[in-house]
């Protein structure tokens, strides 16, 4: 036994006794990471060997061709060389583990790669159209199929998309949120039926929703194709999505919060309005925004119901109206290069719209139910303190600050507070 150190702190002496010989060097923290140096050597070595071998196969023997083929052959060679190298100093189990790890890493690389390719390719082919200002300010009414990219634009499609999605949201948000509230607040046979039917309808292919509106509104009732018909088709498609995700979010609201509100004597309506909905606000917003992103991007229901026009039409109730995905679709069906780059341009605009919606949804929906931002928490604290002060003032019979009629009424609605401030 050796006495290793004597530390002096606050005038007391601590003696640490360590069994064994005193180490001559300071202790080094042991690495618990799983990557060893030999692992790196075998990885890099196998990669270099496989690339060299593939290059030889492709340039000297010319058995295969193409960039895709190069990657595939190189990957297969890498796998076999790597497993052989690892087998030198590991057991079979470890070799299998390594190979699976390589496979999983490679596969996980594919989806992000595809996303990047899709985004970059769309923007790349679209720059030709996007770099001309007239693309954003003109419609296609004065532009023939052979005209260059400097004439014509997609303002009619952009306006059409905005009008359609606004109308669809104006119908589906109130209906969707109200029925989601009904599903979560009044469980029973009827709400079970509604939930089953709504769940079934999320399986409805979007083209069938379009066909339904086409057959009812346009063929049977005799209306012409219009933006209104298209927004109805989008609504039929979006409603089940919104209801289903809103239902899920509302069910995540902690039961004891609701029960606390009810136990304090508030009515069911008050509980939903001032406890359940505010708690689930971020989740509900996310549900609506993601539904909107789906609705904006759908082509097939609009294809059947909106008709196709090259004119800017702002009246959704008469005349055909076109949306961004539909415009993209009709542009790329033309063989003309300028039309195709217009198609890519409008696809890029559509994608920017979806990206923005998605990011907003992420920013809002990143928090769980009832979790507040810093500012919200501060505001809530201030309001709570004011309430406490007001109740105290009322007890003492003096006029508190800001006791206007409105505040009085609000104070009565929160029946919870007087009890708490009295105790």
């Amino acid at each position: 036994m050796t006495i290793l150190t004597e530390r002096v702190a606050h005038g007391k002496t601590t003696t640490v006794i360590v069994p064994g010989d005193a180490p001559t060097t300071p202790e080094v923290r042991r690495s618990v990471g799983v990557i060893r140096r030999t692992d790196m050597y075998s990885l890099v070595g196998s990669a270099a060997a496989s690339i060299a071998l593939t290059t030889w196969l492709f340039t000297q023997l010319r058995v295969f061709q193409g960039a895709l083929g190069f990657v595939a052959v190189a990957f297969l060679l890498f796998l076999s060389i790597y497993s052989a190298v690892v087998r030198f100093d590991e057991t079979d189990l470890a070799v299998r583990d390594r190979i699976v790890a390589v496979l999983v890493h490679a596969v996980a690389f594919v989806l992000p790669l595809v996303l990047v390719i899709v985004v970059v390719y769309t923007f790349g082919r679209g720059t030709d159209a996007l770099s001309h200002l007239n693309f954003f300010t003109h419609d296609m009414s004065q532009t023939g199929p052979l005209d260059p990219i400097t004439s014509g634009g997609i303002i009619h499609a952009a306006v059409g998309t905005l009008i359609m999605i606004t109308m669809a949201l104006a119908i589906s948000i109130p209906l969707g949120i109200a029925s989601a509230v009904f599903l979560s607040e009044f469980p029973g046979r009827f709400s079970r039926l509604v939930r089953t039917v709504v769940e079934a309808m999320t399986a409805l292919p979007s083209i069938v929703a379009g066909l339904f509106v086409y057959a009812t509104i346009i063929l049977t009732l005799g209306f012409e194709r219009s933006g209104f018909a298209a927004s109805l088709a989008i609504t039929v498609m979006m409603l089940p999505i919104i209801i289903r995700s809103a239902d899920v979010v509302l069910r995540l609201v902690p039961g004891n919060l609701k029960e606390a509100s009810l136990a304090l004597g508030s009515t069911k309506w008050r509980t939903v309005w001032s406890v359940t909905l505010p708690t689930a606000r971020s989740g509900l917003t996310t549900a609506v925004i993601l539904g909107t992103a789906r609705g904006i991007g759908e082509t097939s229901p609009v294809l059947l119901t909106a008709g196709l026009t090259t004119y800017l039409n702002v009246n959704p109730f008469s005349g055909p109206m076109v949306s961004l995905p539909l415009a993209t679709f009709s542009f790329v069906k033309s063989p003309e290069p300028s039309m195709i780059s217009r198609g890519f341009g409008s696809a890029a605009v559509l994608m920017v719209l979806v990206l923005v919606l998605f990011l907003v949804a992420r920013l809002i929906g990143g928090r769980g139910p009832g979790v507040l931002t810093e500012r919200q928490r501060k505001r809530r604290t201030t309001q709570s303190r004011q309430d406490a002060y007001r109740f105290r003032a009322r007890e003492l019979g003096i006029a508190g600050p800001g006791t206007s009629r409105r505040r009085e009424r609000r104070g009565r609605a929160h029946t919870a507070e007087p009890e708490r401030s009295a105790s």
Partner: protein, 347 residues
């Protein structure tokens, strides 16, 4: 309400006690809803009734409209491959298998992709990369299908042709990969025979459905119990051993459910498929060969110049598609909900 009368003149304390016990009936707990609550209930119930009516109308209308064509065609609706409703010979015997072939191709590609990505996110990825990847996958699910269609038509199709040709050269002994009219020894063979095929449409649809499948799988994988994971590792299992014995068995329900959900989405996909395929009206199981078809593409192709009777036929085809996706989706949600623990949320 109903409180016992404790004291009456001229009675002893014991009498009062007995009487009070006798009178002590359970208080009625029935509460009378306020007017605001009644209005609230009526309002939300009205909204869900409207939703129910709309959704039922869609189903009923499909059924009624489709019935006209179904009753005219009878059983031959399921056995006829041609689509000429105005001359009376029409059926979904070509487009229904076409839809299924595209969906199966898509799922065959999407499931390994989704499983690998989900495993990477839940088991291998560093924490910061994990959040980024989750966002990327969710974003992929939000990209409009027409954008995927453009990508497939203009970028994927020209670049995948050598690969199709390679498969057809070496694997044509499998009937699925055989291509009629293609001989590998002919140096002048045009690769256009491989365009607009089930395979390419399936690849594009695979890119659209794998994010959906992946996010469900990831959710289930991350729920695999920590204790059992650590137990397996502590007993000396490699990471793959742990995944195979703990994560995958635990997540099997979610894997099947996510796959079926992706399948449902793949069956109903319209625009990307429509952009890529060139429609044929016979059963085409050779997935590399030019020409394919699906129910949704048929509807998009034919609705505009259709007679009322043909619309009814399209409705019947749409109904068949809807029933198929409905069965697949219900199966998926049943399997997914069974695989999860039904923990209720108490804050």
């Amino acid at each position: 309400m109903g409180g016992p009368q404790l004291s009456s003149p001229g009675a002893t304390d014991a009498d009062a006690l007995v009487r009070s016990v006798a009178l002590d009936v359970p208080r009625s707990l029935r509460s009378r809803a306020r007017r605001s609550d009644l209005a609230f209930r009526a309002g939300t119930q009205g909204a869900s009734t409207i939703v129910l009516v709309i959704m039922t109308l869609v189903g009923l209308f499909l059924l009624l409209q489709g019935f006209k064509a179904l009753s005219a065609a009878g059983l031959s609706f399921f056995t006829t491959q041609a689509w000429e409703p105005n001359s009376g010979t029409f059926g979904i015997a070509a487009v229904l298998p076409g839809t299924i072939f595209i969906a199966i191709t898509a799922i065959t590609v999407a499931v390994p992709l989704a499983t690998g990505t989900a495993l990477y996110i839940s088991e291998y990825a560093p924490r910061r990369l994990k959040q980024l990847l989750i966002t990327v996958v969710d974003l992929m699910a939000a990209i409009p299908s027409v954008v995927y269609g453009l990508w497939g038509l203009f970028l994927l199709q020209p670049n995948i042709l050598p690969f199709s040709q390679w498969i057809a050269t070496y694997f044509s002994w499998m009937p699925v990969f055989a291509v009629t009219g293609f001989s590998p020894s002919d140096p002048l063979a045009s690769p256009t025979i491989f365009t607009a095929s089930t395979f390419i449409a399936g690849l594009v649809v695979a890119m659209m459905v794998s994010p959906i499948t992946c996010s469900i799988m990831r959710e289930v994988f991350t729920q695999a119990p920590l204790g059992e994971r650590e137990g397996a590792l502590a007993l000396g299992a490699t990471r793959w051993g742990m995944i195979r014995r703990v994560v995958l068995p635990f997540g099997r329900g979610g894997m099947i459910g996510g796959t079926m959900l992706g399948l449902g989405r793949a069956l109903g996909e319209t625009i990307a498929v429509y952009l890529i395929i060139s429609p044929v009206f016979n059963i085409q199981p050779q997935i590399l060969q030019k020409g394919a078809n699906s129910i949704s593409a048929l509807i998009a192709l034919r609705y505009s110049e259709a007679s009322p009777f043909e619309i009814s036929g399209l409705m019947a085809a749409g109904l068949a598609l809807f029933v198929m996706t409905l069965i697949v989706n219900f199966g998926a949600s049943t399997i997914i909900s069974r695989s999860r623990s039904g923990a209720s949320s108490e804050g």
